[in-house]
């Protein structure tokens, strides 16, 4: 409850974690607001079906609010006739000169504030992926502000959870991105860092995941707990194992 989880990937694709969290929270009966900036709805839907959850059904019963970034951007870009439409686009920062993400935040707030008829368990905000916002013209400060506002509403007020995916690279030259990622790391309760293996490509081990539980934030004098596992992605499943114990080695 009220936790902020950061998914971070380096040199590999961490989106399998996003799919996992999406189906996990939907199965648990939470109300989910999914800001999907990078892929289309059908992509997530097809994978979610393999994991046993139907996104279309969830959308119909109101459990899932799906913001398809690509479609929304197209409507914004080419829909010149609807200047005064009823609902301003959540992504309006792309075309307007204001670089704050307030419209996006309003969208999130409206979708996750429980109506009187809702019977879902806690709200969840899922973002895939935050680094795209920087590519589209938002300043790092605006992105951090957005996350901060979301935390206040979702985590503190509504006692929900937030899961955010970012890309990062150790020797990245994208300073704005690194700024956002480092700042988010300091504020997260749980960090799942997915990395490609440092030794290069391997068929049986797709990468390594480092789980950091930020116990130190609770100010009880304990250190963060760090666990490292390696993983292999299959069509419907991901298997995790301790380092050095992959099936290829044993």
């Amino acid at each position: 409850q009220g936790k902020f989880t950061l998914l971070r990937d380096t040199r590999t694709d961490g989106s399998f974690l996003v799919h996992h969290f999406l189906s996990f929270y939907l199965r648990a009966g939470c109300k989910v607001c999914f800001v999907a900036l990078l892929q289309s709805f059908s992509h997530y839907n097809i994978i979610a079906q393999k994991l046993g959850v139907s996104l279309t059904a969830a959308k119909e019963r109101g459990q899932l609010v799906f913001l398809e970034g690509l479609k929304s951007c197209l409507d914004l870009w080419f829909g010149e006739q609807e200047e005064q439409s009823v609902q301003p686009s959540p992504l309006q920062f792309i075309s307007k000169s204001t670089s704050d993400l307030k419209a996006l935040f309003d969208f999130v707030q409206v979708s996750l504030t429980p109506a009187s008829s809702d019977s879902w368990k806690g709200p969840v905000l899922l973002v895939d992926d935050l680094s795209v916002l920087l590519s589209l013209g938002a300043t790092p400060v605006a992105v951090l502000d957005f996350i901060h506002y979301c935390r206040v509403v979702v985590c503190s007020q509504l006692k929900g959870n937030i899961v955010v995916l970012v890309h990062s690279n150790e020797d990245s030259e994208d300073e704005e991105n690194e700024l956002v990622v480092n700042s988010l790391c300091h504020h997260s309760d749980l960090i799942l860092w997915v990395e490609g293996l440092a030794t290069g490509f391997c068929k049986d081990i797709h990468g390594q995941i480092k789980i950091t539980r930020r116990v130190s934030l609770e100010l009880t004098g304990e250190q963060d707990v760090v666990q490292i596992y390696q993983y292999k992605i299959q069509d419907k499943n991901v298997t995790f194992f301790a380092r050095g114990l992959s099936a290829a080695v044993l």
Binding site: D13, K50, L70, L74, K96, G137, S172, E173, D174, F201
Partner: protein, 341 residues
């Protein structure tokens, strides 16, 4: 969305670009060609002619002859990152996916007739319509987007016209995006005026591609872009990224290790659509070469070291030059005479 990093002189990337368009012609797809550098008409006139089946079989035999030699000579060769027990120089010629093209001939106009193609040539567009309002993006990119979107909705590629029975695919080719000719200064300055133009363009293009039956290949002169952050963002926004590094003019050209090849192919990213896993192929180090008629991409392998009487000094030269090459090529010096050290 496939994007190709151009090699230094643009020679080989324009070849790949033409291959993509030629494949479209042969498969009967519609084409959309955009360029700021060359007029699309001239690009289309230079498409390579497709190889007919008999010619292809001839080439296939050539390739298999070479392959069996390779098998006998080289069983273990140490190269950049790992030892491999067995190697196939080029993917098996028995799979018939796509077509082969003959680079010495250009495509005949009759083949081209039934194809509907659209073009976008920036200098022409600028003279036709001098002012077009595009918000918060480089105006050339904005025009290109409008043009693509117009074609997609007019020709029904986005499924908006339910009466259209026969669905076709639109192949979009955009040449040299991001270069100075498109009005974007990311290639010449470290702090460009509008750093987000290119990435916004790609995002909107990605949206258009996802919504319609189209595929797009873009070539970008990545070596000219000084701000590497942009390249990282562009990579994240694309589905497939392939880099071409040609040996022309670099020290690798004279390196005997690379003498059979004209350049390297770096596959930096592959698409992961509609599934959790991606199809990571076994071949990681690829090189390309321009044979007389074909442009082939093969696994990088060293020519077998056939001479037993190679003298010490030349071996050391080889080792020395291998060390000069960047990033881990040192393994090659150990490689060929693998018992040597």
């Amino acid at each position: 969305l496939v994007f190709t990093e151009e090699d230094k002189y643009g020679v080989y990337s324009s070849l790949l670009f033409k291959y993509f368009l030629a494949e479209g012609v042969v498969c009967g797809h519609d084409l959309f060609v955009a360029s700021a550098k060359e007029h699309p008409d001239s690009i289309l006139k230079e498409l390579p002619a497709p190889l007919l089946d008999e010619q292809r079989n001839e080439l296939g035999e050539e390739a298999t002859a070479v392959k069996s030699e390779d098998f006998q000579d080289s069983m273990k060769i140490a190269w950049r990152y790992q030892n491999l027990p067995k190697m196939e120089a080029s993917p098996t010629t028995s799979t018939k996916f796509g077509h082969y093209y003959d680079l010495s001939k250009t495509m005949s106009p009759e083949l081209f007739q039934p194809i509907k193609w659209h073009s976008f040539y920036l200098p022409e567009e600028l003279s036709l319509q001098p002012t077009v309002k595009t918000r918060s993006m480089n105006s050339a990119y904005g025009r290109l987007l409008l043009s693509i979107q117009r074609i997609i909705s007019q020709e029904g590629f986005d499924g908006s016209d339910p009466q259209k029975k026969q669905k076709n695919i639109l192949r979009i080719g955009i040449q040299s995006l991001g270069s100075l000719l498109w009005g974007d200064d990311i290639c010449c300055s470290d702090t460009p005026e509008d750093i987000h133009s290119l990435t916004k363009f790609l995002y909107v293009l990605r949206g258009l591609l996802r919504k319609s039956l189209s595929a797009c290949v873009i070539t970008i002169p990545a070596h000219l872009i000084e701000n590497k952050a942009i390249m990282e963002r562009v990579t994240n926004l694309s589905d497939t990224v392939v880099g071409l590094e040609s040996f022309i003019g670099s020290e690798r050209e004279t390196n005997p290790l690379y003498k059979d090849y004209h350049g390297l192919v770096h596959v930096r990213q592959i698409p992961q659509l509609n599934s959790l896993i991606c199809d990571v192929s076994d071949m990681k180090d690829l090189a390309f070469r321009l044979k007389r008629k074909l442009f082939t991409i093969e696994r990088l392998h060293l020519p077998p070291d056939l001479s037993d009487t190679v003298s010490r000094t030349s071996k050391q030269e080889l080792a020395g030059s291998a060390k000069l090459l960047s990033s881990g090529c040192g393994a090659m010096a150990i490689g060929k005479k693998h018992l040597d050290f």
